[in-house]
Symmetry: C2
């Protein structure tokens, strides 16, 4: 999606929000997460930075909105975290699979993953998605060294997404969610709270 | 790479091997692993099927050659398997990382993974790479249910490739191989030989 010409449009007009989002998406894609500022996005959309904050909140929130994820992972993960570290690996995976297995949500997530796998989007996952969207939530679950544990959790989750949904490796692609929870949940728990050298 | 015109060239001429390989690559990409036959590849390259066998061996061997992997995973994994199931998770990962971390090999592997991640190549990994190239080798390591254990091993390996090499998630991207072996090796061992529901 590209930003449409917005000259002469009043701030707050119906399309302004969409134009800010398009400008944000373009900036995150071109300049990465770190290189994007609310001020530059506002300028590109021809609006005041305060309006960007008004519509989208913080830069983190704007990033999540720009990803166009059907669900906000931070909201989905909140109850997983609230229940504490015990059994978090299985709860995390169960929640994750319930979202990914939803036929109304899966196509959007798959398209997102495919676009993020593209050569020039790796930085968005590395500098944005993992540290901004999932990192802080998971970090509150680990007993120590979140900087090591969270990426290890991410590595198994990423592998599961690619194997089950992108490549559709049998029988992972067809495996009932609860079987996966029973088989992979303990590994996530190990990465979160187990003895790790 | 595309096949060059080969009309009038004698079978066995210096470029015939390259033309067979180009035909194989095109066929695997268009028709997938299952849809490709030695006979059809030979026909597309304008040579006798026996010549394809002579140059490349079986269809599995032709597939590995067509992938243009700098190393044959089946050869690399042979010593890992020969030493038996004990400690196989750590040996497997150590061998795997020694190949991936080799600066002479990594760019080729990365290009291969990126092309396999593309939408229409998933079938090649699903029907070819995993069951033909790595499946049989890993299956000889597991104590039971290879059809479940091997894909679980693959899911963690795929996640590690994507996180460490494609996305370059810190600190996984910078982590010394032996630290990764100590942290992820036990998980691979668990998938290979541990108690799995």
């Amino acid at each position: 999606m590209t930003a449409r010409a917005s000259r002469g449009r009043r701030p707050g007009a119906p399309d302004t929000r969409a134009e800010v989002l398009a400008a944000a998406r373009a900036s995150f894609a071109e300049k990465g997460f770190r290189g994007t500022t609310i001020r530059a996005v506002a300028s590109a959309a021809g609006v005041d930075p305060a309006l960007v904050h008004h519509y989208f909140g913080t830069k983190d929130d704007l990033f999540v909105a720009a990803l166009e994820i059907p669900v906000d992972p931070r909201e989905i993960l909140a109850p997983v975290v609230a229940a504490g570290p015990d059994g978090a690996g299985e709860r995390l995976l169960r929640t994750f699979l319930s979202v990914w297995d939803d036929p109304a949500i899966q196509p959007g997530l798959l398209a997102l993953v495919r676009s993020l796998m593209a050569d020039d989007s790796a930085g968005l996952v590395r500098d944005g998605f993992i540290p901004v969207v999932v990192g802080p939530v998971l970090a509150s679950l680990v007993r120590d060294r979140p900087e090591v544990r969270v990426p290890l959790v991410a590595s198994q989750m990423i592998g599961l997404i690619v194997a089950r949904y992108v490549i559709a490796v049998p029988p992972l692609a067809q495996m009932p969610a609860e079987d996966l929870v029973a088989r992979v949940g303990p590994v996530l728990q190990h990465y979160l709270t187990g003895d790790l050298p």
